[in-house]
């Protein structure tokens, strides 16, 4: 049985053969390095990462790029291979993320046990509950209700990919209405605090009802937004507004570290923007990311034919293998954390000692 579509079927204009935009891979690669650095507590290098210079951080980059690339990949495949093949491919990718999450957790529990000797790092990594009640924890891990520290985003990614065939179907019916529905769901989170419960308490850290909006924005942009938004995105006024907002965000973010800047913010403004709740993708974070994306897309050349420098190539390589690199980064950040907490004076012995602990 073939599931190829007739030529007249209304499917996206994106094509699988479309040239890969290396800027996306480079962005993802850089985001992966930033995530690794940010996952190490008290790391001075985290001054290099986005989170100190604005409301949003690399999580937004990841989710948006994911929605965009999903639409490029599956939307393009839809015309050439039909619904059945496309849906199966999307579900398979969702399954891969789910499987990667499970494998990562096994490695994470083992690593936390090895470097902590069974009693340290259990609270910091949120793995204590596993060692106290492994049976119940495994059941809730399988049900996507529990994730140790720094692995939470994979739960939301698995959900987003598993629901992508439905999103694609809705997009082919009406992309604008789909974006509207997604925004409505996002609003429900902001107004009525809709969330997905986690185990043993609380809610999923990356609320799928909220973060889906950024994912859908990415998918919508690849689907039809590129052409529809082109006149707006070329607007000089919009670019200036985006830069002003980025500067405002920069001052606020710096005020979290430098108390002297705190007084610069009028109370009316701080009352308006706080709390900035990452779990629910607070509107100020969303707006910051969109401003950043606009500024980058305007200022970075879309077609790059020049020689790829080694650093850029390294970012692209990591971006091409984002799922594996994310998982590896989580484990490496745990090793790095232990490496200098074992040696409070940060002597050069710390790194070898962490590695030898692993190998012993």
């Amino acid at each position: 049985m073939t599931d190829h579509l007739p030529e007249t079927t209304d499917v996206p204009a994106v094509h699988a053969s479309q040239r890969r935009d290396l800027r996306l891979d480079a962005c993802r690669g850089l985001a992966l390095w930033f995530i690794f650095i940010d996952h190490i507590p008290d790391n001075a290098l985290s001054w290099l990462t986005l989170r100190n210079y604005g409301f949003s951080d690399t999580s937004e980059v990841f989710v948006f790029v994911s929605g965009y690339t999903c639409m490029l990949a599956y939307g393009g495949a839809l015309r050439e291979q039909g619904w059945l093949t496309t849906a199966v491919r999307a579900l398979r990718r969702g399954w891969e993320i789910y499987a990667a999450f499970l494998v990562l957790l096994i490695a994470y529990f083992a690593l936390a046990w090895i470097i902590g000797g069974g009693d340290r790092y259990l609270d910091e990594t949120n793995t204590a509950i596993f060692f106290h009640d492994p049976g119940a924890t495994i059941v809730h891990v399988l049900a996507l209700q529990f994730a140790p520290v720094n692995t939470d985003i994979l739960l939301t990614f698995a959900i987003l990919h598993l629901t992508f065939p439905g999103l694609l179907w809705l997009m082919t019916r009406s992309a604008t209405a789909t974006l509207g529905l997604s925004f409505l769901l996002y609003l429900m989170v902001q107004i009525f605090n809709w969330h997905v419960p986690a185990w043993p308490s609380g809610e999923l850290y990356f609320n799928p009802f909220a973060w889906q909006f950024l994912f859908v924005i990415g998918a919508w942009y690849a689907f039809e937004g590129t052409s529809r938004l082109r006149p707006i995105l070329q607007s000089r006024t919009l670019l200036i507004l985006a830069i002003v907002y980025l500067l405002f965000s920069l001052v606020v973010a710096l005020s979290w570290q430098f108390k002297a800047l705190d007084g610069l913010m009028p109370a009316a403004v701080t009352n308006l923007i706080y709390p900035i709740y990452k779990s629910h993708l607070a509107p100020v974070r969303l707006l910051h990311f969109l401003s950043l994306a606009l500024a980058v897309s305007r200022l970075a050349p879309p077609e790059w034919h020049g020689p790829l420098r080694p650093l850029m190539m390294a970012m692209i390589r990591c971006g091409e293998n984002s799922l594996s690199m994310y998982c590896l980064g989580v484990l490496l950040s745990l090793i790095a954390t232990s490496s200098w907490s074992n040696c409070p004076q940060a002597s050069p012995c710390s790194l070898p000692s962490a590695w030898s602990g692993l190998l012993s």
């Binding site: 690669g29 992966l32 390095w33 690794f36 650095i37 190490i40 790391n43 001075a44 290098l45 390294a314 390589r317 990591c318 091409e320 293998n321 594996s324 690199m325 590896l328 980064g329 490496l332 950040s333 090793i335 790095a336 490496s339 200098w340 940060a346 002597s347 050069p348 710390s350 790194l351």
Partner: protein, 34 residues
């Protein structure tokens, strides 16, 4: 020290990613083993 540890971590990620990309070139459809 923090710089060194972070750089080592990123270097490991780059090495692993390069290996994965290199390995994927050999990824061809073959017979189903099970």
């Amino acid at each position: 020290m923090q710089l060194a540890v972070s750089m080592v971590g990123i270097a490991v990620m780059i090495l692993a990613a390069t290996l994965l990309t290199w390995e994927s070139r050999f990824d061809r459809r073959g017979p189903r083993l099970f």
